[in-house]
Every structure is written in structure tokens, then in C-alpha cells.
């Protein structure tokens, strides 16, 4: 591939540059991605087709073409696969609803107050700087059996003594939503920050109600932000296994695709099943992303 690189002048970049420098800039990074991104993925595909070594015991597999592994994982883990996509969809929608007003406020309302804007933006990304696991653990304490919330719900008769908040779908979706809100707010903010407020004034000049100005002007213009926000939120949620794990907010009844992959790979050592599930998850995401790329072009995202 590298021998065919041809260098042309880029409009904004001044004069043509030497192909040697280009190769020097590109090759180390591309080599790294080849070695640690492309070939591992090939490894996943070959591992997903491996067959057990006859009489070999736990964790012993040999190369094979066991396409049946895929049928097995889909039937065996159907519930977890469906649950992952349902949870990820719910949490992504919730994150969108919660984030939109925040992004709008920072990007549009606070536009003329740079210090307030910078402060609020810092607060949006603040959760990134405290451990993801510690954050999730804080919610675990809030929802735990002897904490205020659970006792209050029981005293009010809204929850039976043998019911638990922890380990329920509700709490897992809550945790997923919380953990990934910044991934939604930031792209929305980037988009709304560029919203031309003259368009909103034009709307009100033409006697449009604020709500119809919102649905006819602001919302359609923010669709690119919504699309990248939903992708950036949905993808990590679909693969997350911390929030839904029994150590944090979940239980066996809430386990997701990530929990199954982790259990198969690390605990059960059923590498082919773990790999087959990973390949399926990746395939689903590649389909989603390519639909997105077809609509917007890659340059938008990167």
C-alpha cells in the first residue's frame, strides 16, 4: 500500500510536500494499527471458528471451521443479546433527552458568557476525571438495600421487602445513562454552538411559537450532532459490562453481551464463544456506522 502513495498539493496546505515525510508520519501509526487492531480482529475471527481439542479439557481449542459456534452463541445467549440492544437503545434515548437542554444552554444561551460557558463545559466533562468504577459504585450505594432510597420506598409501600433496586433493569439502565451522558452532551454542544441564532429570530419574526421554531429550525439543524452523539453513546453502552455486572448495579438477570463475553473469555475460557459474540457485536456496529458514514461522509466524524 505504501509504495502507491502519491502526493498531491492540498488546497489549503501551501506547496507540495515530500512523500518521504508523509511516509515517515504515516507508517509508524499505520503499522501499529495493523499489528494491534487489524490482526487481533483476524485473531477473533479465526478463534471464533475453533473447535475443542478432543479430550483436551477446559480452554483447549484447535483451529477449525466451526460455523456452528455462531449458531450456538446466538441461541444460547439470545436473551443477553436482545437485552444489550434494548438497554443501549433506552439509555441512549434517555441520555439524549437529558443532554439536549444542557447542550442547548451551554452552546446557545451561554454563548455570550464565555466564563460561564467554560465552567459548565468543564462540569460536563468532570465525571471523566473521576474513576468510572468509583462513580458507578456511588450509585450502587444509593440503590443498595439499606440505603435511604430503598427504605423510603419500602416504608411508602411502593416496594416489597423481598424486592431489590440493585440488580433491576431500571437501575442498570439508569447507571448506563448516567455513565455515558457526557458522550452525548459534547457532540450536541459542538453542533448547537454553531447554530445561527439569526434563524431563531427569523422564526419568531414570522410569528412562529417558540415550540414550532424549535421543531422546525433548531431540531433539524442539530440532527448531525444527534447522530454522532447517539453513535458515541450507543456503541460503548452496547459493549459495557461494568454497570450491569453483579459487582456494581446488575445481577444475573441484567447481564449484557459484554458480561457474557467477559465470562466466556476470562472465567469459563470458552474462547470460541467469546470471540463469536465479539465478532457479532462488531458486525452489528459496523452496519450501524456504515449507514451513518453513507449519510454524512467520514470526514465529519474524524
Amino acid at each position: 500500500m505504501s509504495t502507491q502513495l502519491s502526493v498531491k498539493k492540498v488546497k489549503t496546505a501551501g506547496r507540495p510536500k515530500s512523500p518521504k515525510i508523509l511516509l515517515l508520519l504515516l507508517l509508524p501509526g499505520l503499522f501499529y494499527l495493523g499489528l494491534f487492531f487489524i490482526t487481533p480482529f483476524a485473531s477473533l475471527i479465526t478463534t471464533s471458528l475453533q473447535a475443542p481439542v478432543p479430550g483436551g479439557g477446559i480452554g483447549r481449542y484447535q483451529p477449525g471451521l466451526e460455523f456452528g459456534n455462531y449458531v450456538f452463541v446466538v441461541t444460547e445467549y439470545f436473551d443477553q443479546i436482545v437485552r444489550s440492544f434494548v438497554y443501549a437503545t433506552l439509555a441512549t434515548l434517555l441520555a439524549l433527552v437529558i443532554s439536549y437542554p444542557i447542550a442547548y444552554f451551554i452552546g446557545v444561551k451561554a454563548r455570550n458568557k464565555p466564563v460561564l460557558q467554560a465552567l459548565l463545559l468543564t462540569l460536563v466533562i468532570a465525571p471523566f476525571f473521576i474513576s468510572f468504577l468509583l462513580r458507578t459504585f456511588a450509585w450502587k450505594q444509593v440503590f443498595s438495600q439499606n440505603a435511604f432510597l430503598s427504605t423510603a420506598l419500602r416504608d411508602l409501600g411502593l416496594m416489597a421487602d423481598n424486592e431489590f433496586l440493585l440488580g433491576s433493569s431500571f437501575v442498570v439502565v439508569f447507571g448506563l445513562t448516567y455513565n455515558f451522558i457526557p458522550f452525548m452532551t459534547l457532540p450536541l454542544y459542538t453542533n448547537l454552538e454553531r447554530l445561527d441564532t439569526a434563524l431563531l429570530e427569523a422564526g419568531s419574526d414570522l410569528y412562529a411559537k417558540p415550540t414550532s421554531t424549535f421543531w422546525k429550525v433548531t431540531f433539524p439543524l442539530s440532527i448531525p450532532g444527534i447522530t454522532s452523539g447517539t453513535l458515541l453513546t450507543f456503541i460503548p453502552i452496547a459493549g459495557d459490562y461494568v454497570t450491569a455486572s453483579g459487582n456494581f448495579l446488575g445481577s444475573p438477570n441484567t447481564s449484557m453481551l459484554g458480561n457474557v463475553i467477559e465470562a466466556n473469555f476470562i472465567t469459563i475460557q470458552d474462547f470460541p464463544s467469546a470471540s463469536a459474540l465479539s465478532v457479532l457485536l462488531m458486525a452489528a456496529i459496523v452496519v450501524m456506522v456504515s449507514v451513518y458514514i453513507r449519510r454524512t461522509g467520514t470526514e465529519d466524524l474524524l
Binding site: Q4, G29, L33, P101, L134, G246, F271
Partner: protein, 268 residues
């Protein structure tokens, strides 16, 4: 009239509530870093500074923290250098496989960590490389690389090409143009990318869990501890890292905001 005031106060009220919600776990971690860990009973046991002054009395936390710092710093140095080079290549040069390269650089961002972690682990297993700190570093370079590329690319997009042209017009060599003009202008973007990469690497659990073998990192320690209860020393580490990172970000952000304000004033 009534509706007008509702609209006026509704959004700020919502924003305040939303930020309380967003900040709650941070506050929780901070408060519980001062908890007196009496007999390891859960809940608030009393206020003490002991956890802060004696973090390393909990050797496991301290060792895990050290490993995490070592991994994050090494991975960040490598990924910042590789990522900056890639970002310059794809924005400043046009070549045959540019869109394919962009796609390849984007794909790791679209890959769930569990897939990345399992893929790397499968490869290390197949090749027979024992898992440990080194394999974790390889994994962290991988997932931070694309974030560096995106961040530095965004910075390059805001550069005024006229500045470099001016340099060339004044007979600066390409190296001089890069060192005296391009690089200093890119530096804030590179710093932001490095900070992001540090934060992502330090916080990573999933890729680490698949590739660390028996080595313990800070997130791995917290994950295991979460089953019974997190010792206050872990909250101290979390809070201290948070304060350090947020101070850096505030300096960057507020510095930028004040600069814009000054420029706006000058423009008037």
C-alpha cells in the same frame, strides 16, 4: 406573562438539577474519602484525615495506583506522538488511500472496548505472549490513539494556513516553519490530546481486564473491591486524581475563555 417567566426559569432550574445529578457521584467519592473505616462497616462512620495522609498504608491501593500511572504515562507518550503524526499526515497531505486511512483511524473509536480487549487477548494468547503490564500498555496505546488523532485534527482545522505561508515567504525552511509556527500553534491541541489520553488510560477497566493477567491496576482493584465495599483509600486516590485533572482543565478552559473575552473587548 406567566408562561414567559416559566420559560425563563425552567431551563436554568433544569440545568442546576442536571448538574447536581452529574456531580453527585463525584461528591460521594470525595466525601467518603474522609470516612473513618471502622471495622469495614458500610456507610458513614465518622470524619478523618487519616486516609489522605496515609494512603499507602493500604499497600494494595498504592501499588495498583503506581501501575496505573506507569501504564497511563507510557501509553500517552507513545499514542500522543503517533497520533499527532497521523493527524498531520491526513490533514496536510493528499494521498491515494487517505479516506481508507481516515476510516482505519476512525474504526477503533467505533469498536466497543470489550471487542478490542478480547481481540488483543486472543492474539496475545495465539502468539504465546504472556499477559502483563506490557500487554496492557499495547492495548491502551491502541484505544487512545484515535482520540489523539481526532483532537489534534480538530486543532489543525482551526490553524490559519496564511501563518505558515508567511513563514515560507520569509524564506524559512520547512523545518523552521514546522518548529517555529506549526508546532507551537498545535501545542494546545496536543496537550489536550495527551490529557484526554491520560484520563482514558488511567480509567480503563475493560481492555485492562482482558490483557493484564494477574497484574493489578487501580480500576481492577476497584472492580474487585466493589463486591464488598470500597476502602476509603481508593476514594482518596480517585478524588486526588480528579482534583489534579480538573485543575489542569480549568486553567486551560478559563485561560481560553478570558483570552476570547479580551479579544472581544479589543474588537469593540
Amino acid at each position: 406573562m406567566n408562561k414567559f417567566s416559566l420559560g425563563k426559569y425552567l431551563l436554568p432550574t433544569y440545568i442546576s438539577l442536571a448538574f447536581i445529578f452529574l456531580m453527585f457521584p463525584i461528591g460521594y467519592t470525595f466525601v467518603f474519602s474522609f470516612n473513618d473505616p471502622f471495622k469495614n462497616t458500610p456507610g458513614w462512620q465518622g470524619f478523618t484525615f487519616d486516609n489522605w495522609t496515609g494512603v499507602c498504608n493500604n499497600e494494595a491501593v498504592c501499588e495498583a495506583f503506581g501501575n496505573s500511572i506507569l501504564i497511563a504515562v507510557t501509553a500517552t507518550i507513545v499514542s500522543t506522538i503517533l497520533g499527532t503524526m497521523l493527524a498531520i499526515a491526513v490533514t496536510r497531505y493528499e494521498f491515494k488511500f487517505r479516506s481508507a486511512t481516515n476510516l482505519l483511524l476512525f474504526l477503533p473509536l467505533a469498536t466497543p472496548e470489550v471487542v478490542m480487549g478480547a481481540g488483543l487477548a486472543a492474539q496475545f494468547f495465539n502468539v504465546g505472549i504472556p499477559r502483563g503490564i506490557g500487554t496492557v500498555i499495547f492495548g491502551h496505546i491502541l484505544f487512545t490513539l484515535s482520540f489523539v488523532v481526532v483532537t489534534v485534527k480538530a486543532r489543525i482545522a482551526t490553524l490559519d494556513p496564511k501563518l505558515e505561508e508567511a513563514g515560507r515567504d520569509l524564506y524559512a525552511s520547512p523545518t523552521q516553519v514546522f518548529m517555529k509556527i506549526t508546532f507551537p500553534l498545535l501545542l494546545p491541541g496536543i496537550m489536550a490530546a495527551a490529557l484526554l489520553s491520560l484520563a482514558l488510560s488511567f480509567d480503563d477497566y475493560i481492555v485492562t481486564a482482558f490483557n493484564s493477567g494477574t497484574e493489578i491496576t487501580f480500576p481492577k482493584y476497584v472492580y474487585a473491591a466493589a463486591l464488598r465495599g470500597i476502602p476509603p483509600e481508593a476514594n482518596v486516590v480517585g478524588s486526588a486524581v480528579f482534583i489534579f485533572a480538573i485543575a489542569l482543565v480549568l486553567v486551560f478552559q478559563l485561560g481560553g475563555a478570558l483570552k476570547r473575552k479580551r479579544i472581544a473587548k479589543l474588537a469593540k
